[in-house]
């Protein structure tokens, strides 16, 4: 047979070549034409899959149209509508299952934060700042749950669920551990022991509570939060006395100081919180007295995979927008996507993202998140995302640095994921610390 080159190529394409196999051989070949996203989604259980699809839709409908403006003029947009839209769709109550939350029940009891990680990735493909705005809230809620105190869980979560999911008027929460003089120190054991902490709670038995003084900094959603879980040492004691207090907006002496101007994730604020003789009633003590350090470290165990997933979303957003650019843009007679060097770069980016996703999903696949897996997923995903965003910008040449394409925004957003929730250096040490008595025994 004298086939032309084109015909020959057509014949040996896998889908056509498979037809020459016998029936059983054909059954073993997966020739389904499906996007990477669909392939991954099909791996998920029904409940998680449902949230992944829902989050993608929400991201495109609500986050995408707001993203550019909220990044350019973070002080001029109103975050309330998007917060309440997210709440009505159940995204703000994902830390519990019905009747107190909206997470799908079966997957939740197998992999607590998996659904949130999946949502975080989808949201973050569109805008890091708006994702942080919506997700930092969970960080604020987490101490209530991880304290294990039924009083806190029921007392706070029932009204919250009703307001948020049923009425669409969610309270926004924030999580405050960082102080001007203690950043890494509150995320790391040895540093913790040496930390110079300022925020202090003084017992006031006559008033039935505590008097809080001090300040926290860089608190995401700090300026808009209705309630903040604040960690403070008890008077005349050290960090081992750290206790979590629920501080509510409007409490006398509680105010918001400066809001930082940051490189990315600009749609959410990072604010200083000032506590000047704030009276905290006993009912607002979260969990047991002096259990704050353990709650804090455990919150980080649960939140780091989600931060990794957000990073992954930034990387994927950059990749998808870059792909679109390569599809549309001509270089001479051909589109960029038709050039082999461009294909190699795009493939490399997709593979890196895939690897990061595998790691995040792996780290979430248990009921209790643990330190080493969470820290590793966060470090790997954030480094990967930053690398992929750089690749995307570079591939687009001068177009890469224009705000209009949204790729550089993902790049700016991704850079933060290497810093917050513990710098990637501190997270590496966290992995080591967790296995000191096993793998890394000295």
């Amino acid at each position: 047979m004298n086939n032309s080159l084109e015909e020959r190529i057509e014949q040996i394409k896998m889908a056509n070549a498979t037809q020459r196999m016998n029936f059983f051989g054909r059954l073993l070949v997966d020739n389904r034409e499906m996007s990477l996203w669909e392939h991954d989604t099909k791996l998920l259980s029904w409940g998680v899959r449902r949230w992944r699809r829902k989050a993608l839709k929400f991201a495109r409908e609500y986050i995408r149209p707001l993203a550019t403006e909220a990044d350019l003029h973070p002080h001029d947009y109103d975050p309330k509508p998007i917060l309440s839209a997210a709440a009505r769709q159940g995204f703000q109550t994902m830390l519990l299952t019905p009747p107190l939350g909206t997470a799908s029940i079966l997957p939740y009891y197998r992999n607590t934060v998996f659904q949130l990680a999946v949502i975080g990735e989808e949201f973050a493909t569109e805008c890091g700042g708006l994702t942080l705005l919506l997700l930092a809230h969970n960080l604020g809620v987490a101490p209530l749950l991880l304290s294990g105190s039924l009083r806190n869980i029921l007392g706070q979560m029932i009204p919250f669920y009703l307001k948020s999911y049923i009425l669409g008027r969610p309270d926004c929460m924030a999580f405050a551990i960082t102080e001007p003089g203690a950043g890494s120190d509150v995320e790391e054991t040895e540093g913790g022991a040496l930390a110079k902490l300022v925020t202090t709670a003084k017992h006031a038995p006559e008033k039935g509570g505590y008097i809080l003084n001090g300040r926290k900094c860089f608190i995401s959603d700090g300026a808009i939060a209705d309630k903040v879980t604040v960690f403070a040492k008890l008077e005349n004691e050290g960090i081992e006395s750290w206790t979590c207090f629920l501080v509510e907006r409007g409490m006398q002496g509680f105010s918001v100081g400066r809001s930082e101007r940051k490189l990315g994730q600009r749609a959410s604020d990072a604010s200083e919180l000032i506590f000047d003789n704030v009276f905290i009633p006993n009912k607002n003590v979260v969990g047991k007295l002096r259990s704050g350090w353990a709650i804090n470290r455990n919150v980080l165990n649960y939140s780091r995979p989600v931060v990794g997933a957000m990073a992954l979303g930034h990387g994927r957003g950059a990749f998808e927008r870059c792909l679109e650019f390569c599809r549309k843009t001509y270089l001479g007679p051909k589109h960029l996507i038709e050039y082999q060097d461009v294909q190699l770069e795009l493939a490399d980016m997709a593979m890196s993202l895939w690897a990061a996703r595998s790691m995040i999903w792996h780290s979430c696949r248990q009921f209790r998140c643990y330190q080493s897996a969470s820290a590793s997923a966060k470090v790997f995903a954030s480094d990967t995302a930053f690398k992929v965003c750089n690749q995307a910008m570079e591939l687009m040449g001068d177009h890469g640095y224009l705000h209009a394409h949204g790729v550089e925004r993902a790049w700016r957003d991704a850079r933060l994921t290497q810093i917050y929730e513990g710098t990637n250096q501190i997270n590496r040490l966290a992995l080591f610390e967790h296995h000191l008595s096993t793998d890394f025994k000295v």
Binding site: L263, D341, D398, Y401, H403, W411, R415
Partner: protein, 393 residues
Amino acid sequence: MEKEPVTNICAEDIVHYQDLARQYSRKSINPIFEGEYSDGNLSLLQEKLKTAFDIGIAAAPDESLSGCQYGVWGGAIDETGIIPSSLILSTIAETCGGVAMCLNAQGVASNLILQAKRKLTFIPVKVAVGLQEGFCPPFLGTITSPDKDDPAKSMTTAVQKGNNYIINGSKSFVYSMSGVDAYVVFACVGEKWGCFLVEAKGKGIEKTDVGVRTGLRACCVEHVKFNNVQIPLEARLDDGDARSLLIRAMSLNWMGMAAIAVGIARGAAAAARKYAAERYQGGMQIEEHPAVKMLIAGGESSIASADATLYSMQNGPLATFSGLKKSATAKLTVVDLCSRAVTDCLQSFGGYGYMEDYGMEKRLRDVTVLKSASGSPVYLKQLIFDIEKEGAL
């Protein structure tokens, strides 16, 4: 950092150029950054750039101006080599990459005009060069012959009509000081390159700002369209084939960008060292933590390699393919090394690195733009391979 003296340039010269640039940074650029925004008060910029002409740091085609010969990429570089200009650029970039980029763009365009083979009818002061069309600068095939689709031909054309040339086409991502008097435009004249001086106010010229950008915001970037722009025959700068001018422009531009990246990274490393000595975490200054030492030392080693690469180009021929290959390599490797250094140094600041306060986020934005601008890594690798394969041509 101490500099080894190189051919044609002695240690005193190096100190002289650095001092000049440092003084300019201190007196003129620092005041721009006294406000609260990390990109500075850009409304002061034009006045400060004027000072750069007055003290001779900015090159200009006008011989009555002091920078004409010894400003950045001034007429004297064929004798002095590239070090004086790269030193000035890198020293200024320690304070602001965007201002350095203005001087680089001005210098490249001025240098081309100073190569003119005939007396020009008008001598501009502020100038810019249009190198790029569409997606990226020309590939080797197109540098060799502008009408070759290899892979993308030049769409800007110049056609002689009586005593004039008529220019049609467009240039994208034209970097400048803003408010330029003239553009140096490369266009296809038959099968050859022509290089033309086009008055910016001329009829048929349309400029559009490229919009909000990640970094190097002190430098203006525009797309410029030429619709039947008429210029006199004397405004042609070359002698019938502008290929060597095109190569010269690309080489100088990339070497300048590499020098700017080194400066930005040096500024970042110095800031990181200072911060690491001041910040306490874990019961000690963070400079005592190996994690921080590794970040900063890794960055400083990258800068040293980048610096060495730049220095090695001192006597390289500018307008040849081998020179072009060297400068493409410099842009590719130096900017990459420096951007890694900057991001590592930023990491040593923790959360403060991400905020505008210490200027680290600006440095990261600026150096990242350099990577993508005027030739992405993928483009540069292709060009480097092709030049080697085709030989000296």
